[in-house]
């Protein structure tokens, strides 16, 4: 493998890992704060991709407008979903959370097949990002993939600032370490839950929307991402956004180079990584508290 190929694969690994982080951070926040394991989180990624596909004609192919509209819809959707379904699950055990969110997956997938269809669709890359960058003499790298990484990094930085520096972030951190105490200090925990859930949904939808031009849009894309995100959360330690970030990058690297070096065993590489980490540190690399 020459240097340019290595660079291309590194960039691919970075882009995949950062996308995983967007989905996994929502998952880990929702679990860390509300104690709810949300299997339907992958569906939000799927919904994002289908939003990018079906909203594009509405906005005449204006990508930024599509993204903003999709995000607004995602926040409203997440808020309603928490209110209508997820709020029943806080006092229930994990089994019931698993089943209800499994039911939600079936409903979302079937609604998707009724509203759109079961075909694979492509989403065009916005024209102003449709170039490529020259790497070395022979290789080129698409600008759009670099843009994905840039957006994800910006979101990660924003997330860090919000969680580490703002009042809301303080409540989020406090809520994840002791829910009852936060409630007794007079913080409106119901509202906090709704905000965090809506933010988690919006992060996954955003990931789906910006990934759509690269991965195309297909049924079952949600489940695939969900399970890889579980691996990310297990490796990173649950409830830890920083852990999710590093673990997502690690998974991105292992998956990308697994595909290049051992194409036969590509699907398994990530799970073997998880097995190795479980042997070494069963509670994840960066578990809080």
């Amino acid at each position: 493998m020459d240097l340019a190929t290595l660079l291309v694969q590194c960039l691919n690994a970075l882009q995949y890992g950062l996308l995983l982080f967007l989905v996994a951070s929502g998952l880990t926040l929702i679990f860390g704060i509300m104690g709810v394991i949300n299997l339907a989180h992958g569906s939000f990624y799927m919904i994002g991709a289908y939003l990018a596909y079906s909203l594009a004609p509405v906005f005449g192919g204006n990508f930024v407008a599509t993204l903003l509209a999709g995000l607004v819809l995602a926040v409203i959707f997440g808020y309603l979903l928490e209110w209508l379904f997820v709020s029943y699950l806080y006092e229930r055990d994990h089994l019931q959370q698993v089943l209800m969110t499994y039911g939600l997956i079936l409903v979302f997938e079937e609604l998707r097949s009724i509203l759109v269809d079961n075909d694979v669709h492509g989403v065009p890359v916005p024209a102003w990002l449709n170039g490529s960058v020259q790497l070395g003499d022979l290789m080129q790298y698409p600008v759009y993939r670099l843009a994905i990484s840039a957006v994800c990094l910006a979101v990660a930085a924003a997330l860090y600032v919000v969680i580490a520096r703002t009042r809301l972030g303080m409540m989020v951190r406090a809520g994840s370490s002791n829910r009852e105490m936060v409630q007794s200090l007079g913080i409106n925990i119901k509202f906090l839950y709704r905000v965090v859930f809506a933010a988690g949904v919006a992060l996954a939808v955003l990931a789906g929307m910006i990934a759509a031009p690269v991965t195309s849009v297909y049924p079952g894309m949600g489940a695939q991402v969900l399970i890889v995100c579980f691996v990310v959360v297990v490796i990173g330690g649950i409830g830890s956004v920083r852990g999710a970030f590093l673990a997502a990058l690690l998974v991105g690297i292992v998956d990308t180079f697994g595909k290049v070096l051992f194409p036969q065993a590509a699907g398994i590489a990530v799970y073997l990584l998880m097995a190795a980490i479980l042997l070494w540190k069963p509670e994840g690399l960066f578990r809080q508290g």
Partner: protein
Amino acid sequence: MRALARRCTFPLVVIGLLLAFPLATTGFYLEFTSKVMILAIFALSLELLVGATGLVSLGHAAFYGIAAYATVLLSPKFGAANLFWLLPAAIGCAALYALFVGALSLRTRGVYFIMVTLAFAQMAYYVFHDTKLGGGTDGIYLNFKPEVVLLGARLVDLGKPAVFYYFVLACLISVFALLAVLLESRFGRVLAGIRSNEQRMRAAGFATFPYKWAAFTLAGALAGLAGFLVAIKDGFVNPEMLSWHESGAVLLMLILGGMGRLSGAVLGAFAFALLQLFFQWEVVFGNFSKHWPLLLGGTIILCVAFMPNGLIGVPAQWRAWRARRRPEAARG
């Protein structure tokens, strides 16, 4: 004595009805009931983990699917295998994978355990999905059903639907009895202790890990029995048998029937299969019947919201509701 009689009446009636069933019908209903009884074995195996030990596994389909693949792959291409070695071999493959997954996943607890079992099931899924080992996404066919040959004599022909039905019924009764005895034993008591408070069991001097590991492996092996049976019944396996939809479905059977009781798992398997059949019924739902997962998903959500103890808990829930109503009515 009377208490024992009362406890045994209902199961005996159910067994009697299942024994008499092939006399009354053939064809579709017989095959359907065979399939449901296989699902009941599958659900019982998971009940040992979820209901008895309190370990929520979301990757149980892996063992079911691995045993099904083992059944097909170990059978000779041009002839029938003997059941007496094929069955232990298929169950052994499932148990081996369960031994491996259990060793790693039981190092974690709670929600981690759910995610890790799911991830390991997905790993097994990719092995069959991406490699040529089992025909890739298309799956493979079992050309000859295994023979039941003992000391050179053919005992029965599993190719006949009625014979296969009785074979599955015998397996179901054996598994049920095995688990019932096991849960009453010291081993089962320890598992119940782990379910209610693992810390306290450890403090009381039990090394809980070996117990959980044994339960996990046994559950995997019993799921393997179900996988073996389904491979023989359908004569065909594909990677979807290991998919997490299958794992979710079997968990659903448990909660539909009611956790913590073996009969709940069996009831849940029947309820799940009938529900699925009902939602796919074109007479009732017309064109909408092809969107049956929507109705199934909605039913799951409603069940979790309003029926937390499953079907088996409904009478108790009804009595509690009546008891709450009555004082008001008396005052009224």
